[in-house]
């Protein structure tokens, strides 16, 4: 089992963001998390990426709190929702992102070859010497995706990856993710239901921090109530 979550509760500033989440995700699954804004999708993704102290999550059978930061970075990577146009060339950015593989005593001999391979997988080899702050939105998203991939983690988490993409890059990203799923377990949060239905092997619906339902195919009748306005009383529970 790649990810095991058992009765996970996350409370931030006295507000319960995740409510008793229990979930198992097998290796090579593409698992989509859907739900309205504020449902707890990003918090769930960040929990799996190790942002909160908890022992309720196991990655490949090992409790997440027992991983050190570098080990965790080699196990799980997250493409965040907000990506910045940093002032580095793509090559520099990817080499920096190999951080978990080098230390004062260890040089990372694989760095250049892995970065080249990832650039070819994501189809951005020609951008190698371009600075990220000179790229288009779609290219920037792929550059950040590549930075998530150079850690060679077995779990890849994508938070709203299609937000800033035009149809061309949305389709390109779909193909890349499908290819990646042969070697990785993928967890995606998205509002793009059409895109999700083309890619996900399982869909988990969140509402008010709890799992509302799980399905393999998106059904309009199931989804419609999910996005109904949330009542204040529902959140406060």
């Amino acid at each position: 089992m790649a990810i095991e979550i058992e009765t996970l509760n996350i409370v931030i500033s006295k507000k319960r963001i995740l409510d008793n989440i229990t979930l198992k995700i097998k290796e090579h699954e593409i698992c989509a998390i859907i739900g309205p804004n504020g449902a707890g999708k990003s918090t769930l993704l960040k929990s799996v990426a190790g942002f909160y102290k908890t022992d309720r999550i196991k990655l490949f059978g090992k409790r997440i709190n027992l991983y050190n930061r570098r080990e965790l970075a080699k196990t799980v990577s997250l493409l965040p929702q907000n990506i910045a146009p940093v002032p580095f060339t793509l090559k520099e950015f990817l080499l920096f992102s190999r951080y978990p593989y080098r230390s004062l005593l260890n040089e990372d001999s694989q760095a250049v070859s892995v970065c080249k391979e990832i650039m070819s997988i994501t189809g951005i080899e020609e951008l190698e010497n371009r600075r990220l702050d000179a790229l288009s939105g779609g290219q920037l998203e792929l550059a950040w995706l590549a930075a998530s991939l150079v850690t060679e983690s077995k779990i890849l988490i994508l938070d709203e990856p299609t937000n800033y993409l035009d149809p061309y890059y949305t389709e390109k990203l779909r193909k890349i993710v499908l290819g990646l799923a042969k070697k990785k377990t993928v967890l995606i949060a998205s509002h793009n239901l059409e895109w999700i239905s083309k890619i996900a092997t399982r869909i988990i619906a969140l509402r008010s921090g709890a799992i509302s339902f799980q399905t393999e195919k998106i059904n309009k009748n199931d989804v419609a109530p999910l996005y109904k306005p949330i009542k204040l009383s529902e959140i406060e529970q």
Binding site: N82, V86, P87, F88, E92, F93, F96, S97, A147
Partner: protein, 308 residues
């Protein structure tokens, strides 16, 4: 890209060291005592103070993701100035004790910024705590000047303008090891600083232990700034200008930015100090005035450049 940055960095090192060495031989008047007891210590003092301030500035610009951030915004310089002002007011004439007073106040400010900034638990809490302390200490100095007699008031003002004129090596012996050791320790974090450019979230995902890296960097920069300010006075703008100039030349990889800032910062402050001495002889314009005169227009240029 990297070879280009590397060769540019080597040029900066060469340029900074050679020009600083040339400055050493100016204004000696063929006198050995002046050369060994005044020229060498004052150039060393200016070089290492500038080097330390510039490295610290480069670190702060990345940690706060703000082009204008330097340790000065954390109120450490004002606190050190306040400490020295108290010393002057209390009639302390020994430079060593005056430095100690400034140093104690600076360390107190660092701890206070950490304590209040940490308690607030909000993004930018540290920055806000620093700004608040800065205002507090600046006002306290003004109050002290207002209450002091004319001579003491003038002494305080003179110290606040930054003072790189020294005789002998006492201060140099304290400054050089501090700046070299702290800058070397900071340099070991270049990898983490590169990841922090893309944001704390990104660095954390890629395996950086954010809280321990930030604590170590704040401690090192605060300590080094406190000692520099306690010796040469609050010389502003060096820490802001130098890293910017270096980034324009060698790019944004911190391996090159930190090394370049160290050497060019050293040259920059030594040159500012020399300019202050030769502009209106025999008077010496305090170095802090020279750097601020350069810093103001630079600040505005940065604003316009960003807009374009």
């Amino acid at each position: 890209m990297h070879t280009k940055a590397k060769s540019r960095l080597i040029f900066i090192l060469f340029f900074s060291i050679v020009t600083t060495a040339v400055m050493l031989f100016l204004r000696n008047y063929g006198n050995n005592v002046i050369f060994y007891e005044i020229r060498i210590p004052e150039i060393l003092l200016a070089f290492f103070a500038g080097a330390g301030l510039s490295v610290n500035g480069a670190v702060f610009q990345t940690l706060f993701r703000n082009d204008l951030a330097t340790p000065y915004i954390l109120g450490i310089a004002s606190a050190a100035a306040f400490g020295a002002a108290i010393g002057i007011q209390a009639g302390i004439t020994s430079q060593i004790f005056l430095s100690a007073a400034a140093f104690i106040a600076a360390i107190f400010a660092t701890i206070a910024v950490f304590a209040f900034g940490g308690i607030s638990k909000r993004p930018g809490g540290l920055l806000l705590a620093g700004v608040a302390l800065n205002f507090f200490f600046a006002s306290a100095i003004m109050l002290m000047q207002y209450l002091a007699n004319f001579t003491v008031s003038f002494e305080i003002i003179r110290w606040l303008m930054g003072n790189l004129s020294i005789i002998g090596y006492n201060k140099v012996y304290l400054l050089i090891p501090t700046v070299i050791l702290s800058s070397f320790a900071i340099f070991r974090f270049y990898d983490e600083l590169n990841l922090l450019v893309a944001g704390e979230e990104f660095a954390k995902i890629h395996g950086v232990n954010i809280s321990s890296v930030k604590t170590a960097l704040f401690f090192l920069t605060s300590l080094s700034t406190a000692i520099i300010v306690s010796i040469v006075g609050p010389i502003g703008f060096v820490g802001m200008m130098v890293p910017h100039i270096i980034k324009l030349i060698v790019g944004k990889d911190h391996k090159f930015v930190l090394a370049g800032s160290f050497f060019f910062g050293g040259f920059f402050l030594a040159a500012s100090s020399e300019i202050g001495k030769i502009v209106v002889p025999p008077a010496q314009i305090p170095t802090g005035i020279i750097t601020s005169l350069l810093g103001g227009p630079f600040f505005l240029w940065l604003l316009i450049r960003k807009r374009n």
